[in-house]
């Protein structure tokens, strides 16, 4: 529940339930896909100073109490064309509220052809700086990028 009484839900799901293109990746396929949803909107979803810190604290709690070595995957919604704003908001929240979390975040902007234009999709992967499979995570992200740029 936020300052303006909007209610949000954060869902942690196996990443393979959403992204089947990571099925063959031994490390990232064990990741957790995070979805943030407004479930009860109390009027317009305008500026709410408590929202960012609340979401970051939920993620921090998950890492501290469920699995510190989770690989969390985020992907901004693009249905309404506001994915760029969402991505920068998400970035700002992490800079402001999570700089003590000792994590690494890989941010990928994927430009997808759609008619005459390219539409951005943002995917971020977050994991502990001392994650035992850190090197493999980077390698698998590179492997995925290669698959996306193939002709």
């Amino acid at each position: 529940m936020t300052k303006n009484s909007h209610e949000y839900r954060v869902t942690f799901s196996e990443v393979t339930k959403i992204m089947d293109f990571v099925d063959e990746m031994p490390v990232i396929s064990n990741g957790i896909y995070v979805i943030v949803d407004a479930v009860h909107e109390n009027g317009m979803l305008g500026f709410d100073g408590r929202l960012g810190i609340t979401i970051v604290e939920i993620i921090r709690h998950y890492l501290d109490h469920v699995d510190r070595f989770s690989i969390l995957v985020f992907n901004c919604d693009s249905n309404d064309g506001k994915q760029v704003k969402r991505h920068y908001k998400f970035e700002r929240w992490f800079r402001m509220y999570a700089d003590d979390m000792a994590f690494e975040k890989i941010d990928e902007e994927i430009l997808e052809p759609s008619g005459d234009v390219y539409v951005p999709t943002f995917i971020s992967v977050l994991f502990a700086q001392d994650h035992p499979r850190r090197k493999l995570i980077f390698e698998e992200v590179q492997e995925l990028k290669k698959k996306f740029i193939e002709k």
């Binding site: 293109f21 902007e109 996306f148 740029i149 002709k151």
Partner: protein, 44 residues
């Protein structure tokens, strides 16, 4: 700052993969919005 990856128009597999990602996310959201639990959600 994000790294940028451009999908070539010829890469139908990649375009399809992103389309599926959006569809699956929408399906899961609808499932949760209807009172479903993530523990019971199975990918179609």
């Amino acid at each position: 700052m994000s790294n940028v990856t451009v999908i070539p128009r010829e890469n139908v597999k990649a375009i399809e993969a992103l389309k599926k990602l959006k569809e699956r996310k929408a399906e899961l959201r609808a499932f949760l919005a209807n009172g479903g639990s993530i523990k019971n959600y199975k990918r179609k």
